[in-house]
């Protein structure tokens, strides 16, 4: 596997930032996750958190880093170690989304402005399989890669003050599900009855970096049925193991 030229920088008193080339690429993500797993596997007591994004790892320490040079050389030696095979399995998750205009209230406008029929927007959005790059912005908010070019749409010029939990949006080159009620500037095309952040679960987020998401269209009636099942903790998301 390709090895990248990484840059290491101290970020404040307690963190080290490692940067990959500034690109959104699956190979880069794979290298980042491998490195992250190796660091986590070392179980270094002074490390409290390792956060990955598209092209970076941020390693947060419990206290001030005393010797940055030895810390960085320690991390560099971990990068060179062989990949760990024994880590969490990745899954592809089927996420139900209702694209009815009751929920997808920007569909008509997007269709008019961009000249794409609503049916085609839904077909394009559900036809792609998205890679989870990381979680950020809100608890449980997945940053997804793989939105078809035809659906790259400008953000709304004025963000909405309140977007409901579960709303599915498109903003620029990205698509995602609002895991909590929030202000937001994305175009809303549907809504998922599934919880992306559930504190009653041992792992509050079902998906993690490296997983995949497939959006499956459902009717309003199915939406309501699943909503009830989710509320009584009866709904089980469908998933498949992925090996890639």
């Amino acid at each position: 596997m390709k090895s990248y030229n990484l840059t290491y920088k101290q970020y404040g008193e307690r963190a080290i930032l490692i940067n990959w080339p500034s690109k959104i690429e699956e190979n880069i993500l794979k290298d980042i996750i491998n490195y992250k797993n190796k660091i986590v596997n070392y179980n270094i007591k002074s490390i409290v958190e390792v956060i990955n994004t598209y092209n970076s790892l941020t390693i947060i320490y419990t206290t001030t880093i005393d010797n940055i040079y030895s810390e960085i050389s320690n991390l560099k030696s971990i990068y060179k170690k062989p990949t760990i095979n024994k880590h969490d399995q990745n899954y592809c998750w089927d996420v139900p989304v209702c694209y009815d205009q009751e929920f997808g209230f920007d569909l008509q406008e997007i269709s008019d402005v961009n000249g794409i029929p609503i049916d085609e927007i839904i077909e394009l959005h559900t036809g792609s399989i998205y890679r989870v790059f990381f979680i950020g912005f809100l608890p449980g908010f997945l940053y997804l890669g793989g939105l078809p070019k035809r659906l790259h749409l400008k953000r709304r010029s004025t963000p909405r003050l309140m977007v409901e939990k579960g709303s599915v949006g498109i903003g620029g080159t990205q698509t995602g599900v609002y895991s909590m009620q929030s202000a937001g500037g994305w175009n809303i095309i549907g809504k998922s009855p599934v919880s992306f952040f559930d504190l009653s679960k041992e792992k509050p987020c079902f998906a993690k970096a490296g997983d995949k998401i497939k959006f499956v269209p459902i009717s309003i009636n199915e939406f309501k049925k699943i909503q009830v099942e989710v509320a009584i903790n009866f709904y089980k998301l469908r998933n498949q193991v992925i090996n890639d």
Partner: protein, 284 residues
């Protein structure tokens, strides 16, 4: 039990914060001014991570339904018990039925009320720190009842008070390290950062402080990356945002500066209209 008679401008339960959940997008939270929070806990020989009440800009009234030992650190809101003035930074005995009143600020923005044994509110993801969407509430409301441990105040050993440097509240220099994208700035921008007297705008909260001044900016946005409390972001409009304890775990604006841990505490005691300059200090 403490009953909230009036919550004041913004009051919440905080401990040191929520660690290890950034991978789920969960912010750290925790006391804005960790120095003062730690001091309040130390005075009572509590643990550093014991939960306390963070009271912003005073005007808060609390009724104690049990006896307790408390300490108050941070901003001075001229606290009174049953209309009798009490001192900051010392142990105070509380009788059942006492009313603790915080008045308007004399200095500082956030004060910390510690109780012996810590507040016993709900623990979510290993922390009692309030945060919208994580804990049931994000602020203390009128008539809320906050669980505390009852303590016999005859146990108070010392009543000496700790002296805090006034500079903790009054300093006009905020010490910073250069941030990951500092080197993207040109010389004019760097000079603007080091010479400008910055003013805190009215948009300041536990999430972040927006500053009024404007820096010429042609950097645009970055690929979304991790951010930390104390990160100074330069937005496309040229305005600066200093992220605070409740900030999101990722952001897309260039991270120009990073406040030192103690400067985050200093800034937490400043509010709308306060001014300061940045002073870059070396890392290590």
């Amino acid at each position: 039990m403490i009953k909230v008679l009036s919550p004041g401008f913004f009051t919440s339960v905080q401990d040191e914060g929520r660690f290890g959940y950034g991978k789920f997008g969960v912010p750290t939270s925790g006391a804005m001014d960790r120095y003062s929070a730690k001091l309040a806990n130390h005075i009572l020989s509590n643990k550093d991570n014991d939960a306390l009440l963070e009271i912003t800009l005073g005007r808060c009234n609390l009724l104690f339904n049990s006896q307790a030992i408390i300490s108050i650190s941070g901003a001075d809101f001229s606290p009174e018990i049953n209309n009798q003035k009490v001192r900051l930074n010392t142990s105070i005995a509380i009788h059942q039925g006492d009313i603790l009143t915080f008045n308007k600020p004399t200095y500082g923005v956030r004060c910390y009320l510690a109780v012996k044994g810590g507040f016993q509110t709900e623990v979510v993801l290993n922390s009692r720190s309030f945060y919208e969407g994580i804990t049931r509430q994000n602020r203390v409301k009128k008539n809320d009842e906050l669980a505390i441990k009852s303590y016999d105040f005859s146990l108070i050993k010392s009543v000496s008070s700790v002296k805090v440097q006034p500079s903790h509240f009054k300093c006009t220099t905020i010490e910073v390290y250069t941030g990951p994208e500092y080197n993207l700035l040109n010389d004019i921008q760097k000079e603007q950062f080091s010479k400008t007297l910055f003013t805190i705008s009215k948009e300041n909260s536990r999430m972040g402080y927006r500053l009024q001044e404007h820096i010429e900016n042609d950097l645009g946005s970055l690929l979304t990356s991790a951010v930390l409390p104390g990160t100074v972001q330069l937005t496309p409009s040229g305005k600066l945002i200093i992220l605070m304890r409740d900030c999101q775990v990722t952001g897309g604006y260039p991270r120009i500066l990073q406040l030192t841990e103690s400067s985050i505490n200093n800034l937490a005691q400043k509010t709308t209209g306060d001014t300061f300059t940045f002073k870059i200090v070396p890392l290590n």
